[in-house]
């Protein structure tokens, strides 16, 4: 009875039928590449999982160089299910970044970025960058030797950028070197700045997807496409995939909990065989390819500059691919898309094996 009165109260004020009508009428094209559509919904689900597990961890984490490592150990050893939330957060982050890359490369190769979806692509690439920065900032929060050394390497690489590099490095580190200030800065990025920006961008990205609808690849014959309602057909499939991924993350969290090293000591030598997280391996491997000096120029500066240019080109790719925008085939950009994907894939494997 009480719920009925509550429902009536809302019904008198808001026309829910009208509000949810666009969702009920939403159609999704069904064709041979429709599997790739599910990666977007999966990213959204994993982001929500990350926010929930992250909020739980932030209740007990202490962002101070003296207590950070100890607080993580206490979360894992003393709190009920603390070990699970930390491990879940870690594995969910790994899979989220993997699915983000998959979503991004599938969009690139299927040319879903073409007119009129340029802004969708730009917001998506920025979200990928934010996802990676989430990973980098979260990695340091454990405040152990390995995280400390890896952050020093990652932020040091940014410093090699010409002109703005040193400023960016100092901004990220909160000083000249990685210190307790860097920890507080990364904590602030991880729990307040990046979540706000990511929520805004995810919202914008979802609104733009609703506005433009799903992109149909150029190679698909429009006659073969059948529109199916999002509710309930597509939504049920989405739910099944979310459930499967939830199960995989829970399994990994239980069977392979992430390690916690010794508390970071800025004066101690870095541990041997320092490797960045897997999503930085392709950059790490690229830097290794360049010699110390090329034509009198610093090799690392040249490498970081070229990587930055490649990332900028990647971000602005829809604006260069004019043929796709006109609905024509553009084999050059197909080759470029595959080159980006293969380079990332092979360099990551090489970095892993090195």
């Amino acid at each position: 009875m009480r719920f009925r009165r509550l429902k009536d109260w809302f019904d008198e004020r808001y026309d829910f039928e009208e509000i949810f009508r666009p969702l009920r009428r939403k159609l999704v094209p069904s064709h041979k590449y429709e599997t790739f559509y599910f990666s977007g919904g999966l990213v959204l689900f994993l982001f929500v999982m990350q926010y929930i597990s992250g909020y739980a961890l932030s209740l007990y984490y202490v962002p101070h160089p003296e207590h950070a490592n100890k607080s993580v150990i206490e979360i894992v050893t003393k709190l009920n299910f603390g070990w699970f939330f930390r491990s879940f957060h870690h594995w969910c982050a790994q899979i989220l970044i993997g699915v983000l890359f998959f979503h991004c490369f599938s969009t690139l190769i299927l040319k879903s970025y073409r007119k009129p979806r340029e802004l969708l692509w730009v917001t998506g690439v920025i979200l990928l960058a934010i996802g990676i920065f989430f990973g980098l900032s979260g990695y340091l929060l454990v405040w152990d030797e390995r995280a400390f050394a890896a952050t020093r390497v990652a932020t040091g690489g940014i410093g090699s950028l010409p002109i703005v590099g040193e400023y960016l490095k100092a901004f990220l580190r909160g000083g000249m070197d990685v210190t307790g200030d860097t920890l507080i800065r990364f904590y602030s990025f991880h729990v307040s700045i990046l979540p706000v920006i990511s929520i805004f961008l995810i919202g914008l990205h979802v609104i733009l997807v609703q506005y433009h609808g799903m992109s149909i690849p150029q190679s698909v014959d429009p006659k073969e496409v059948r529109n199916v309602p999002f509710f309930p057909i597509f939504f049920y499939k989405d739910l099944m995939i979310w459930l499967l991924f939830f199960g995989i993350i829970v399994t990994l969290a239980i069977l392979l909990p992430p390690e916690i090293g010794k508390k970071a000591d800025p004066l101690a030598p870095p541990p041997e065989n320092i490797k960045p997280e897997w999503y930085f391996l392709f950059l790490f491997q690229t830097l290794k390819l360049f010699p110390g000096e090329i034509f009198g120029l610093n090799g690392e500066t040249l490498a970081v500059s070229l990587i930055t240019l490649a990332i900028l080109f990647f971000l602005l790719l829809p604006f260069f691919d004019k043929k796709s925008s006109r609905g024509e085939r553009s084999p050059i950009f197909t080759a470029i898309s595959w080159a980006y994907f293969l380079y990332f894939f092979l360099m990551t494997i090489l970095g892993f094996l090195a």
Binding site: I73, V76, I233, L243, T251, P257, P258, G261
Partner: protein, 79 residues
């Protein structure tokens, strides 16, 4: 499943690669057994939910194919 759980319980310490050997899971064998049992139950639950969703999906597709969800056009209003 029981064999896998037994192997995990027996060899778990070798999976832990922390230098200070910080226990990353509850240490008592009984607690670990409960955790692996819960994991098994979670997978059973996920499997059951997927079956239910699959059945609902099949029904939704049937309704869609028969066009039962569409309103018939030019239906006269009844007073």
């Amino acid at each position: 499943m029981m064999i896998i759980i037994s192997i995990l319980i027996i060899f778990y310490p070798s999976f832990s690669f922390s230098e200070e050997a910080i226990p990353l899971l509850p240490e008592r064998t009984f607690d670990r057994l409960i955790i692996y049992e819960t994991l098994f139950v979670i997978w059973v639950f996920i499997g059951a939910l997927c079956v239910v969703l699959y059945m609902k999906l099949k029904e939704a597709k049937r309704v869609e194919d028969l066009k039962l969800d569409k309103e018939e056009e030019n239906v006269p209003f009844l007073e």
